[in-house]
């Protein structure tokens, strides 16, 4: 039921109502509304009940284990929220003078410095407001770099087939031709294919490391040498950074640009559309193109760096300072962890993934890359299960919902048939992981003994199995009042 369907004419929600009628005297007549906006007329109690009920129907990281591979659905510490929501931060106007916002700017400057340190890059801009925007900006900088040197022949971006789908999309958005290269049987980029693909037309390579196959690229420095020798630059998709955080620096691997998903690795709220935040880090040669604004500290004063100091910048990505509230949460998170805590992120992310992988293997599940150590995630394939029983990865995923677990990512990466991409994340305890293994074992037994139970799952959710085809074909997204 939609909030609009609870509406009755004349009902008001007084806690949300403005104290005074708006003063519209300065607005020219033609711009004034003739009709009231179409808002639901509901009481405060109905509103509270409606949204509380919705939240109860929702699977979330606050209620269930959420091993959604590639998404890093880890717990968002309440302290980060509490501190970022201090009234002094929330009430701050983005155009307030710098000397009244020194505390806020100090936080951002500190965050820039910490991210610089942990990624090994020469500069950081906190401006991008989503992973996809961070990627776009990264590739725009690569283009700006080549063009600034008068090199207009570099029209291709190389993307391994194990990359995130956004990588080729980003390259195309920036006007490049995508050259896809293959993955070998161990899950590494095929080095010979890379050698054959590079040349004077190569603008750069986009790499997700660890890859979406959940393995660390073993030949990364070799790859970086090959691309650099051909005159291309290297882009690091930081989506899986929690697997290596504090252990390996992308800058040391030779990368020229990286985006970091704060809403993944740095535990800011995630899902339901964000808001995301994806700072970009750049190597020395891309520093002139870094997006503005960012914060500098000079003569005891924090100030914004703008196009005056970075004339070749690719520009602004929003009116102000990116998603400031998200940046503050990430800042509190890194300060709570400290340097030692940062090391533990990668340690526990990989430990949890490898423990879960070993236990599921013991339970009889087929691991897609059994010879490789998992990074922070790994892939189970139900290819043989499907051949023998007809039960698919999607069936198993739905059955997991019945057992109180969010499903892992299904059918991604597309290289592996009938796959589940499982990422426990570092915040989960051994007890939770064991409970998940128990549920998976139960489902495996059910597949043998009561296959229909699995095939028709979920059974306990507010909605049963959905008609995906109907949902995709007959989109029903807009509510309109009955006249």
């Amino acid at each position: 039921m939609l909030i609009f369907e609870h509406a009755r004419p004349g009902r008001r929600n007084y806690s949300q109502a403005p104290e005074n009628a708006a003063d519209t005297s300065g607005i020219p007549e033609q711009y004034l509304r003739k009709k009231q906006p179409l808002l639901p007329e509901v009481s405060e109690m109905d509103t509270v009940r409606h949204y509380t009920r919705l939240s109860q129907k929702n699977f979330s990281i606050d209620t269930e284990f959420y091993p959604l591979g590639s998404c890093t659905m880890k717990y968002n510490p309440r302290a980060c929220n509490a501190l970022a929501m201090l009234p002094q931060y929330i009430g701050r106007h983005p155009l307030a003078p710098e000397d009244t916002g020194q505390g806020f700017m100090a936080c951002l400057h500190d965050l820039q410095e910490i991210l610089k340190d942990v990624t090994g890059m020469a500069g950081i801009s906190l401006a991008p407001m989503a992973g996809a925007q961070g990627e776009l900006i990264g590739v725009m900088m690569i283009r700006a770099y080549h063009e600034s040197r008068g090199d207009f022949e570099r029209t291709e971006i190389i993307v391994p087939d194990a990359a995130h789908g956004t990588n080729p999309a980003t390259a195309v958005m920036c006007g490049f031709k995508v050259v896809e290269i293959a993955t070998d049987k161990k899950g590494n980029v095929d080095i010979d294919a890379l050698k054959a693909a590079v040349g004077p037309q190569t603008a750069g390579l986009m790499l997700t490391n660890p890859s979406t196959l959940g393995v660390f690229e073993e030949n990364v420095t070799e790859m970086s040498r090959i691309v650099h020798e051909a005159g291309g630059l290297l882009y690091y998709d930081g989506a899986n950074l929690n697997a290596v955080l504090g252990k390996v620096k992308p800058g040391d691997m030779g990368f020229d640009v990286i985006h970091i998903n704060l809403h993944k690795t740095f535990s800011t709220p995630h899902g339901g559309g964000g808001p995301g935040s994806a700072p970009v880090g750049v190597s020395k040669r891309l520093l002139p193109f870094i997006p503005i604004p960012f914060v500098k500290f000079e003569n005891g004063q924090y100030d914004w760096v703008t196009e005056k100091e970075v004339p070749q910048t690719i520009g602004r990505l929003s009116a102000h300072m990116g998603n400031a509230g998200v940046l503050l949460r990430a800042y509190v998170y890194v300060r709570l962890l400290g340097r030692d805590g940062m090391h533990r992120i990668a340690e526990f992310a990989t430990l949890n993934a490898n423990y879960l992988m070993a236990e599921l293997k013991k339970a009889g599940f087929e691991i897609a890359y059994p010879t490789r150590r998992a990074s922070h995630e790994f892939i189970v394939t139900l290819k043989n299960v499907k051949e023998k029983t007809g039960i698919t990865a999607m069936n198993l995923a739905k059955r997991l919902l019945d057992k109180g677990f969010h499903a892992p990512t299904t059918y991604f990466p597309i290289l592996v048939p009938e796959c589940l991409l499982i990422e426990p994340a570092e915040t989960e305890s051994k007890q939770t992981l064991d409970a998940f293994v128990t549920a998976m074992k139960e489902i495996l037994a059910e597949i043998q003994e009561q296959p229909d139970l699995v095939k028709n799952a979920p059974h306990t959710m507010p909605l049963r199995k959905l008609d995906d085809v109907k949902a995709a074909r007959e989109l029903d997204l807009c509510w309109k009042p009955e006249d």
């Binding site: 059918y411 597309i414 048939p417 995906d468 085809v469 995709a472 074909r473």
Partner: protein, 129 residues
């Protein structure tokens, strides 16, 4: 499902049937529909469009993914299967009889380079590992 022996195939899972009038009919294979799952939409080319071999010429979208269809041989589109747009599930039910479009080849030699049923079966076996 057995692979019809009167058709030719591509490595990207399209099937091609040579008609008596010299045109070719193009669809996607049963293996392709099985990988994609329940079809939601198909986007067909327009009559008069010309494509070169391996160029993207149509889109098959399922609940799982949107996949490009690659033109098996170069040529001009002379007819499209418009009814399929309203019933893409036909591809799931009978992929080898749910054609997408007909093509007037501009270089018939390219037909010789396509796989026969046996070659396509070998390809599928190798993809299974």
């Amino acid at each position: 499902m057995s692979i019809p022996t009167d058709l030719k195939y591509t490595k990207s899972h399209e099937w091609v049937k040579t008609e008596a009038d010299g045109t070719v009919t193009v669809g996607i294979t049963d293996h392709a529909q099985e990988l994609l799952g329940d079809m939601v939409f198909v986007e067909l080319p327009q009559v008069g469009d010309t494509f070169t071999q391996k160029q993207e010429c149509a889109v098959a979208e399922s609940v799982k993914a949107a996949a490009d269809v690659y033109c098996p041989i170069s040529g001009e589109v002379v007819e499209v299967n418009t009814p399929l747009v309203d019933s893409p599930e036909n591809i799931n039910q009978d992929a080898f009889n749910s054609w997408l479009f007909k093509l007037k080849p501009s270089n018939s030699d390219e037909l010789g380079g396509l796989l026969d049923a046996e070659g396509y079966q070998t390809l599928l076996d190798s993809e299974e590992h």
